[in-house]
C-alpha cells in the first residue's frame, strides 16, 4: 500500500519532467544534460527509505503520500504587510522572496553592486554568470535521490556571489513562502552561494507556509567559501504543522575560511536537515549549531557530516534539543578525519531534555578517524530538568512553570551566544520563550 503511494509521487515527478524540461529555453546547454542525468538518477534511486542507515529514524512515508502540485500558477496577491513578521525587518537587508517557488520582485531587493544577490533563473540563463555556474553549480551536492530530484527540477532560488575582497554590506534573507493557492504543493528551491577570497556574508533562510494545506519543500543549497572567506548562515525553521522540509545544505571550504550554520528548528511537521561540510584546505573552522524545541507529533532530524581532509582544521558541533509530548528528535553527527588531516580538532556535543515519557530522541555520533594526531570529542546527554535547580528558582518566588521555562531557555541559550546578528538573537529568543510558553520576566 505504502509502496504504491510512494511510487505514485515518484512516477508523477518522472512523467512531468519532459513537460518541465521543454519549457526551459535558456542558453546553457550543459544544464539540459545535468537535468536529464539527474532525473535518470532520481528514477534509479527514488526517495530514501528507512532501510537506508541514514534514514533509520526518519520515515518520509507520511509526507510523500500527498498528491502534491508540482507547477503552481503565478500569484502575486501577497503584500509586504502579510509577510513582514516573517522577515528580520528591524535591520536593512537584501531580500530574495519566493512565493510558491516563484520569484516575487516587488517583495525583494537585489543588487549587483560588488556582490551579486539575484536569482538562480537569471544566473542559469545569462552568459555573464556561465563561468560561475559551470564552476560551481551541482558540483558539491552528493548524488542521491533527493538531490537529484531537486537538480532535475532546478529552476529558481537564490544566486549569491560575493566577489573577491568584499564584505556584503548587509545580511541577505532568502525567504520561501507557500500560499496554499494549490491544495498541496511541492517546492524545490535551489540556491548557489559563492564567496570569493577574503569576502564575508551573512545569510538568513526561512521557509514559511501561509496556509494549512500540506507543503513539502526539498531544498538544495551549495555554498563555496574560498580562502579566508567568512560565511554565517542562519536557518529559521518555525513553519506550520502542515509543512515539512527536507533541507540539503553542502559547504565546501578552502584554507583559513570560517563557516557557521545555526539551525533553529521550532516548527513544522517533519524537518530533515542534511548538512555537510567539506574542508579542502588548512586552518579551516566549521561550526554548526542547532536548537530544536518541538512538541506534539513533530519530528526534527539533524544529519551532519564534517569531512576533515587537510591538516590543522577545526570543527565545532553543538546541538541542543527539548522534546515534549510525542515529538521525535534525531541527531546523527558524522565526523570523518582523513589520514592526511593531522592536528584536527573536532568537537561534537548533543544535549537533550525530554519533558515527556512519550518523547523520543535518537542520538548517534559517528566518528571515523584515520589520522593519529587529532583531538576529537563527542558527548551526548539525555535528561530531564534538574529538580534542585527548579527548587532553587521556586524558592526565590519564581513559579514552577516559569522556572522550567527559564531553565530550558538557559539550556538553549549558549547556542545563541555565537549568533552575530543581534536582531536574530532577539527574534530567536522571543520564539524560544513563546515556544516554551513562558513570559520571561526580563527583556530578551
Amino acid at each position: 500500500m505504502t509502496k504504491e503511494l510512494k511510487m505514485e509521487l515518484k512516477e508523477k515527478l518522472v512523467s512531468s519532467f519532459l513537460a518541465f524540461e521543454e519549457e526551459y529555453t535558456g542558453a546553457n546547454d550543459d544544464l539540459h544534460k545535468i537535468r536529464n542525468q539527474a532525473i535518470k538518477d532520481f528514477e534509479t534511486m527514488g526517495f530514501p527509505s528507512r532501510k537506508e542507515e541514514d534514514y533509520k529514524y526518519t520515515s518520509l512515508k507520511s509526507i510523500l503520500k500527498e498528491d502534491y502540485s508540482l507547477f503552481p500558477k503565478k500569484e502575486n496577491a501577497i503584500e509586504y504587510k502579510d509577510i513582514k513578521k516573517y522577515l528580520i525587518h528591524e535591520i536593512d537587508t537584501y531580500d530574495l522572496v519566493f512565493i510558491d517557488g516563484i520569484y516575487s520582485s516587488h517583495l525583494s531587493s537585489t543588487t549587483h553592486d560588488k556582490i551579486d544577490v539575484c536569482l538562480m533563473s537569471s544566473a542559469l540563463n545569462k552568459d555573464l554568470y556561465k563561468p560561475v555556474i559551470d564552476n560551481y553549480f551541482n558540483k558539491l551536492a552528493p548524488k542521491n535521490g533527493l538531490n537529484s530530484l531537486n537538480t532535475a527540477f532546478t529552476k529558481e532560488g537564490a544566486f549569491i556571489h560575493i566577489h573577491k575582497n568584499t564584505l556584503a554590506d548587509k545580511p541577505i534573507q532568502i525567504i520561501n513562502f507557500s500560499t496554499g493557492n494549490e491544495s498541496s504543493i511541492l517546492v524545490q528551491p535551489r540556491n548557489l552561494i559563492v564567496v570569493d577570497e577574503n569576502s564575508h556574508c551573512q545569510i538568513i533562510e526561512r521557509h514559511q507556509s501561509l496556509t494549512e494545506h500540506p507543503v513539502l519543500t526539498n531544498s538544495v543549497t551549495e555554498i563555496f567559501a574560498d580562502k579566508r572567506a567568512i560565511v554565517d548562515y542562519y536557518k529559521i525553521q518555525n513553519d506550520k504543522l502542515s509543512a515539512s522540509l527536507i533541507d540539503n545544505t553542502y559547504i565546501e571550504q578552502q584554507s583559513e575560511s570560517f563557516c557557521s550554520v545555526h539551525t533553529f528548528s521550532l516548527g513544522g511537521k517533519l524537518t530533515r536537515n542534511n548538512l555537510n561540510f567539506y574542508q579542502r584546505g588548512e586552518r579551516i573552522d566549521s561550526t554548526m549549531k542547532g536548537v530544536t524545541i518541538i512538541e506534539g507529533k513533530q519530528h526534527v532530524d539533524h544529519n551532519t557530516l564534517v569531512h576533515h581532509i587537510e591538516p590543522n582544521c577545526e570543527s565545532h558541533q553543538d546541538y541542543k534539543g527539548i522534546f515534549d509530548e510525542r515529538s521525535v528528535g534525531v541527531f546523527n553527527g558524522k565526523v570523518v578525519v582523513e589520514k592526511e588531516a593531522q592536528k584536527t580538532n573536532a568537537y561534537q556535543s548533543n544535549n537533550n531534555v525530554l519533558l515527556n515519557d512519550k518523547a523520543t530522541i535518537n542520538s548517534k555520533p559517528q566518528l571515523e578517524i584515520f589520522a593519529d594526531d587529532v583531538k576529537c570529542s563527542h558527548g551526548c546527554t539525555i535528561g530531564q530538568l534538574d529538580e534542585e535547580a527548579l527548587f532553587y528558582l521556586q524558592s526565590r518566588g519564581i513559579p514552577r512553570k516559569e522556572a522550567s521555562g527559564l531553565l530550558m531557555y538557559a539550556f538553549a541559550n549558549n547556542v545563541l551566544e555565537s549568533v552575530k546578528i543581534p536582531e536574530i538573537k532577539k527574534r530567536i529568543n522571543k520564539l524560544i520563550a513563546h515556544k516554551l510558553g513562558v513570559e520571561l520576566g526580563f527583556n530578551l
Partner: protein
C-alpha cells in the same frame, strides 16, 4: 511569626525529622546547631517547601497560615527565604535578569505591577554596593564559576533584594574564609529589624560571633534536644555534641 508543631518528615520512607517544635518571633535570631546528619538542612528544606521531602505529620504555621501544602514559590511570596548551602549554578541567566524575574514574580503574586526598570536598577545597585559586590559580577551567569564565597555573598544579595520576613541561612558559613564570613555576617546584620527574623543553621559557633543569636537550639537525630541562650553555642564549641546526647540519654 513561625510556629512548627510536631513536625515529622521523611525521604523515601526514611524518617529524618522526628517531631520538631520551634517558635520564632519577629525580631529574633535563632540558631540551630547539631552534628552531621541530625536533620538540620532537611528542616530548612521542609520549611521552604522542597517536594522531595514528605511531611508526614505536624504543622508549619507562618504568619498564622498553615503552609504545609503550599508550593515553594507561594511560601517565598509570603516572605520565606532560604539561603542554600549549595547554590545551584544556572548558566545562561545573568544575576541581574534572575533578580528581575524573581522580584517581579513576587510583585505579581502580591497584585503589583512589574517594578519600573530604573527603580530596579537603583535597588540592584544599592544592595550590591552595600555588600561590596562588583558590578561585573551582576552580568555573570547565576553562580556559574563563582567561588564558594561569591556564591554565599550572592545568596545574601538575593535576600537583601527580596526583603523576606523569615530568612533561613543553611550553612551559610561553610566554605567561607574569615573575611568572606565577616562580609556575609555584616550583610545579614544590616537586614535585621524588629519585623523580620533569621534562622541560622550551622555546624560551628564561629558564625555566631558575628551574627549573635537570641536562642540556640541543638538538634540531634531529627529532634531539638536542647535550647538555650547564645552561651549554649560556646559550650557546644568547647565540649562538642556528645555531652548533649549523653544528657539526653540520662
Amino acid at each position: 511569626m513561625l510556629k512548627i508543631k510536631n513536625l515529622h518528615a521523611s525521604i523515601e520512607d526514611k524518617e529524618i525529622l522526628k517531631g520538631i517544635n520551634l517558635e520564632i518571633n519577629p525580631g529574633e535570631v535563632h540558631a540551630i546547631m547539631g552534628p552531621n546528619g541530625s536533620g538540620k538542612s532537611t528542616l530548612s528544606s521542609v520549611i521552604a517547601g522542597k517536594e522531595e521531602f514528605e511531611q508526614t505529620e505536624g504543622e508549619i504555621i507562618f504568619e498564622n497560615t498553615e503552609i504545609s501544602e503550599m508550593d515553594p514559590e507561594e511560601r517565598a511570596h509570603k516572605g520565606i527565604f532560604l539561603s542554600f548551602q549549595y547554590p545551584v549554578e544556572i548558566p545562561g541567566v545573568s544575576v541581574t535578569n534572575f533578580m528581575k524575574t524573581a522580584i517581579n514574580a513576587h510583585r505579581k503574586a502580591n497584585g503589583l505591577e512589574d517594578m519600573p526598570a530604573n527603580e530596579m536598577l537603583k535597588k540592584i545597585r544599592e544592595k550590591s554596593e552595600s555588600l561590596g559586590i562588583d558590578r561585573k559580577f551582576l552580568s555573570r551567569s547565576l553562580n556559574e564559576g563563582f567561588s564558594g564565597g561569591e556564591k554565599k555573598r550572592n545568596e545574601i544579595f538575593q535576600m537583601a533584594m527580596l526583603e523576606p520576613k523569615l530568612s533561613i541561612l543553611d550553612e551559610t558559613d561553610s566554605g567561607l574564609d574569615i573575611d568572606a564570613l565577616k562580609i556575609v555576617a555584616d550583610g545579614v546584620n544590616k537586614l535585621r529589624s524588629k519585623d523580620n527574623a533569621v534562622l541560622l543553621i550551622t555546624h560551628y559557633q564561629r558564625l555566631l560571633n558575628y551574627i549573635v543569636p537570641d536562642v540556640v537550639h541543638v538538634m540531634v537525630d531529627g529532634k531539638i534536644v536542647k535550647s538555650g541562650g547564645k552561651e549554649l553555642a560556646l559550650e557546644l564549641e568547647e565540649r562538642g555534641y556528645e555531652w548533649v546526647k549523653a544528657e539526653k540519654a540520662v
